[in-house]
Point group: C2
Chain length 194, copies 2
């Protein structure tokens, strides 16, 4: 519902803003700069948006929703924990490579959300982490996974999936499928060859 389609001009403003937020950070981006990129005077932006923060809110909450919807779909499948983790890694890679810009902002700038939307964001994040953690714990209980601390596993996996948006560029030597195979291999089997 909140991920509505935007009129073309409004969408263009959001896209240019996301690029600026990604490159310089939310706080370091000024509305004057954004206006220049869009080809408007600063004040004209406010015919399309309510405030600077509205842009950040949409970016952060839309991405949070994508992850939540993704994990819900994966979790209701009748699959083993190993398969679910593989699917989750795939989900992160898919979201990151489909819209590199917005996921970078989502990852790095959420803390500048205002009080109300920050609260909502953190609640969504906690819910995502908690579902992810449960999948890991099930894997440990069924002896599919090593008996590792579930938080160590959770955060190691989550953050090791976060470098993708720093590193991946369309047209890199490694294509998305290979990248995915390699990351799954590394996280599931480790660096060391037995």
């Amino acid at each position: 519902m909140s991920r509505e389609v935007l009129s073309t001009k409004k969408q263009f403003i959001f896209e240019e803003a996301a690029k600026l937020f990604r490159d310089k950070g939310y706080l370091a981006t000024s509305m004057r700069e954004l206006a220049t990129k869009v080809g408007l005077e600063p004040s004209s932006l406010y015919s399309h948006i309510k405030s600077k923060e509205e842009i950040l809110q949409k970016i952060c909450l839309d991405n949070a929703e994508k992850f939540i919807e993704g994990i819900e779909a994966i979790d209701q499948e009748k699959q083993s924990p190993v398969e679910k983790i593989e699917a989750l890694i795939g989900l992160h890679i898919k979201i990151a490579t489909e819209d590199l810009t917005s996921v970078t902002v989502f990852n790095d700038e959420w803390r500048h959300l205002g009080e109300a939307s920050l609260k909502e964001f953190l609640s969504l994040r906690r819910s995502y982490e908690s579902r992810f953690r449960k999948i890991i714990e099930t894997g440990i209980e069924t002896k599919a996974f090593r008996a590792i601390d579930s938080n160590v596993a959770l955060f190691s996996i989550l953050t090791s999936l976060r470098w993708i948006h720093y590193w991946y560029k369309p047209g890199r030597k490694l294509d998305v499928t290979t990248l995915q195979t390699q990351i799954i291999d590394l996280l599931l089997h480790g660096l060391k060859k037995d």
Copy 2:
């Protein structure tokens, strides 16, 4: 050499600044706020420091140096790639848990460095990554490691070591040694039990 000992008051300013930078980000931290924390009027800060950026510079470059010194010490030992990777994981955990605040700022705020110090910082980082990558590549060549893309391995490991500063709090249930064992186990052997 640049990691000099500071007079107590100056040091106090740096410590309070680091806490603010960690909690709110560099740009969102004002000198007025810092002055309040330190118990001075804003202008009085400038009897101790040259500029706001000087603080960020010291934090970022000191930590960069710690990592460089650490990897140099590890790399000149006559050890196997596996042992070196274990030692590197230990280095990251040691630095992160010894001074959680400054390593967080180092990790998250370096991009707000000015032109000159940013250049220096990036050069140090590239040098660190390149030494790390060489260790991984040696491990792959000697068949100690899986034949994975060395960049995928490098960044997965590096970033999976970056969550520690988000998560670790002195007095957490997991002590540092256990944490280290678990992370080494996960990165070297993977999540899956064979």
